[in-house]
Symmetry: C2
Subunit: 199 residues, 2 copies
Amino acid sequence: MPVCAPQMRSKLARCAYKLFAKKGIRSVNLDEVAAAAGVTKGSFYWHYKSKKELLHAACAYYYRRWRQRARTEIARDDDPLKQLERVLRFSVQSCLFDRESRVFTTEVFALSLQDKEIRAGWAQFYDTVRELFVGLVQAACDNDQLQVVDPRRAVDWMLATIEGIKQRAAFEPEICTPDQREATVQGLLRIVGLIDAPT
Amino acid sequence: MPVCAPQMRSKLARCAYKLFAKKGIRSVNLDEVAAAAGVTKGSFYWHYKSKKELLHAACAYYYRRWRQRARTEIARDDDPLKQLERVLRFSVQSCLFDRESRVFTTEVFALSLQDKEIRAGWAQFYDTVRELFVGLVQAACDNDQLQVVDPRRAVDWMLATIEGIKQRAAFEPEICTPDQREATVQGLLRIVGLIDAPT
DNA sequence: CACGTTCCATACTGTCCGGTATGGTAAATG
DNA sequence: CATTTACCATACCGGACAGTATGGAACGTG
């Protein structure tokens, strides 16, 4: 008995992510997803029990990939501040230039407002991202490259701004240039340093 | 021949907004909207030619109301900086405490990624909001209450952060307190002052 | 009062699509 | 070789829902 279910299962998740990120989740039907993975809907339902389960898998795929890329960026440098800057640059890069990522996250976020499980998954992802950034800021502080009293607070502000920039990028393609990206990274670093002054 | 079409037309838009903002646009059908306005789908189609046209009307309703409220806040004070603070407080208040507004704007934004007209409407609204804030910042500068070299740039950052806070509020109800609101307003003012330092 | 116009209701159609029922084929197993 | 299991295809079902067809009541107008 052949055992290749894991491959096809993850392939379906990957294809689903691609399609969701291109056309929006609601306007992608399961026939398309199955076709993109080279099978039909009948066999799709052998691997997943519903469209929602597929969406979870697609989210997991996206989350995992984000973390991987962030780790890769961190590994490229030893200096804590540079590491922070690299991950920031990667994040801003995604917001400004990766339309698919924008579409996918926007759709997932919209769905999360109506669906508790989607929301829980997203919240958990947000937490890991935050902890990652907090760790980097903390390290830069320990290394005397940054002075931040409340790293978590500062990171929350920074992440909020990044989300907002992602939205703007959807409407104002003119801000999507490498120069803007660098300016944005520097601005974000300034927010980190600024925001935790006592209110 | 009775002429009350305008009333019912706007009533439908209002009810549509309410429902869209509560349950999400995609999960509201026209029967519901019609019923909420006290009519049936048949007569709905006498007032609107499609669901999309209704959505545009609902957006227009939301946009108009936002501007009205902002104007009201501005009218409450003469001091430019206080005016800015008031509009900021109103914006943050919406993000933190008005779940319906969050749902509606999130859904519209998600749809705007796939639909050119929705996007155009949203972009235009964003522009008016930005100009409003720029005007307030400018006035505060002229009044020597603020020093900002590039108000438009500063406002863009501020608005981005506000959008991000709106997202976080959906996941972290614990940040939705009056204290947090005030801290957020002050933090935003600091961003305005900070961000336009030369890169 | 006849007639057109406005506004509304009822009932229907057509389509999209998630999900299911069912059967087939290839490989592993005893 | 018979049988089971893993994996896939075809064909279908049924519900949800946008949009339409049609008719009726109220009111203004000639």
